[in-house]
Amino acid sequence: MRKSVKAISMAMVMAALMLGIQITDSQAATEIQWWHAMGGVNGERVNKIADDFNATQKEFKVVPVYKGNYTETMTAAIAAFRAKKQPHIVQVFEVGTATMMAAKGAVYPVEQMMNDSGVKLDKSAFLPAVISYYQTPKGELLSMPFNSSTPVLWYNMDAFAKAGIKEPPKTWPEVEAASQKLLKAGFKSGFSFGWQSWVMVENFSSWHNLALGTKENGFAGLNTEFTFNNDSVKRIMGDVAKWQKSKVFDYGGRRGDSLPKFTNAECGMWLNSSAYYGGIKKQAKFKFSQTMLPFYPDIIAKPQNSIIGGATLWVLKGHPKGDYKGIAQFMNYLSSPEVQAWWHQETGYVPITTAAYELSKKQGFYEKNPGTDTAIKQLSLNTPTPNSRGLRFGNFVQIRDIINEEMEAVWNGTKDASLAMDDAVKRGNKLLRKFEKANK
């Protein structure tokens, strides 16, 4: 017994020593921890960005750490903050914005941090559709835009040729007609989609200039309520449910789960993020292209603009002052036209600055790859209205899951569209009140 106690205390001393060594080690070199959610190929690209930055100077070393998918990364950072071991920079997806914003004691607003560190931040260089999502009502930039995308309509050009579809569809009736032709040509289904709440509710609303909720989609205050249970949203839900039965549409799961349906040519069209460009290019053995999202011509004559998805980089408080100088330099490097243009062309994320867009144009990227500027054109189609600026709802990660659930219930016929959307709004509002209560 004595012996084992001794052994345990020895082990504990050893562990403490090792921890101590680690701490002194990280003090010696100014490391900047960057937690991100970019797996696979994009993870390698993130590493390259960090390596390239580290090569430009010797004072700081940015260390990217992959922490799993978006929700896992955000949860990890929050847990780390509670344990006072938070990273310097964390990549948070757009629906986490309200949660991060409300955490005033934890977040160091990027604009303030850049100013405090004496690094110039030119907000006018960023695309309005991107930057407005992450500004306070007063216009202060809270986090650094990094990877932004928007949903587009991907289509299989070979399948279209086989089915005799001449033009990519522009409206929902045209999508239905094209799908019927695809079905006749032997395809299993016409179209599918992923990230369905984002594509079919959030973007559907902004595209048709419809409000998702009161208070400018939550931008103007925490006491907001959902209003997306309107006739237009119910109509598209009802139509998709009808199409599921006739296989004009076939559901294939949340997020990117239905990607194989498209890349295996089971369906001919796929509505999802423009950032699947890299993935489709790698997997598809056919010619493909992208076009703008479809709309109902009797709801809106000309579509408004779509909203972004993707993530931004948030800076967390609680580190030595000197570290933030390095972070500011890194942010500055990250948003430079060269880095952004490269990132955009490799991944399909939209270029977040006008300069990066111009640079890509000059390099002839869009001529060589027709359709790759669909996303950016769609985002900046019109000046954003309060309905199409974006959304800022608390607890939205959870609410999005509720919307997903209710949508699935419509697709499999357990609920009709009208009831499902009413329920989604009811359940969502409950969570909004909860968020308001916790963040008074």
């Binding site: 017994m1 929700t71 949860t75 929050i78 903050f81 509670r82 949660t99 409300a102 955490a103 005033k104 004691g105 934890a106 599921q244 076939d250 559901y251 294939g252 799961g253 949340r254 789960d257 239905s258 194989p260 349906k261 295996n264 089971e266 607890n395 990660v397 959870q398 899951d401 997903n404 659930e405 209710e406 949508m407 699935e408 219930a409 697709w411 499999n412 357990t414 359940r427 969570l431 909860k434 209560k437 916790a438 963040n439 008074k440």
Partner: protein, 293 residues
Amino acid sequence: MLKRTHFNPSPLPYLLVTPQILITIIFFIWPASQAVFQSLLVEDAFGLKTEFVWFDNFIELFSDQIYFNSFGKTIVFSSLVAFLSLGTALILAATADRIVRGATTYRTLLIWPYAVAPVVAGTLWMFIFDPTLGIVAYMLDMMGYDWNHRLNGNQAMALIIFAASWKQISYNFLFFLAGMQAIPKSLTEAAAIDGAGPAWRFWTIIFPLLSPTTFFLLVMNIVYAFFETFGIVHAVTKGGPAGATEIMVYKVYNDGFIGLDLGGSAAQSVVLMVIVITLTVIQFRYIERKVEY
């Protein structure tokens, strides 16, 4: 004098149980009490603002229809998993007990799935049944059955029940087999001489004598279905579609770690804890009485 030496209090027994008690306190009592405390709070994700709200989280929970749905799903899921895995294991063990040749190989093969982690098991099943890429889904499709567990809630439920049962069969098999081998051969032989066939012998002799094992396994399987199946659900369905497979333990995770609603999630885990404690108590007090040791 003799008495005193005999009852001289020795610190040794206390010392010997200390590690166990420490482990229980650190890994069970402390987190459990933390969960109880957390369930009385409303807190933002970062822990910057905390408000003590008494039982608001519980009141909200019990006025939520979705929570009761999840409760119902859990009952269906756990009872089917327990029934299926116990039933299959019993049949397999009964047959394994009778074979002579290649018995070791047969047993080893049956024990293998137990070495597979729940998440890995889930991933295997997910690949086999993937509506687009899965081999079984493809075969079902050829037979004219439209398999899409991402759309159809019943299919999703069936899938996780199969995956969870498959994983647990080995464990049950092992205990059943050991239990059967502990039954004296003379009993079954005597019955055989009296003219009882294999099935009759099984129901009148082996099954009743196995009851302590069955009872133990029933408790273990219920606990398994309630808690350890998280990995399978996470890998296969993530609680979907439309919450059709959101069993209680998954809802705790979803609301707490995805939704960052720590108070509500803690309240659910407290309810879950109470349910499992109650179930175990009931099993030990009422069912155990009927068990013959």
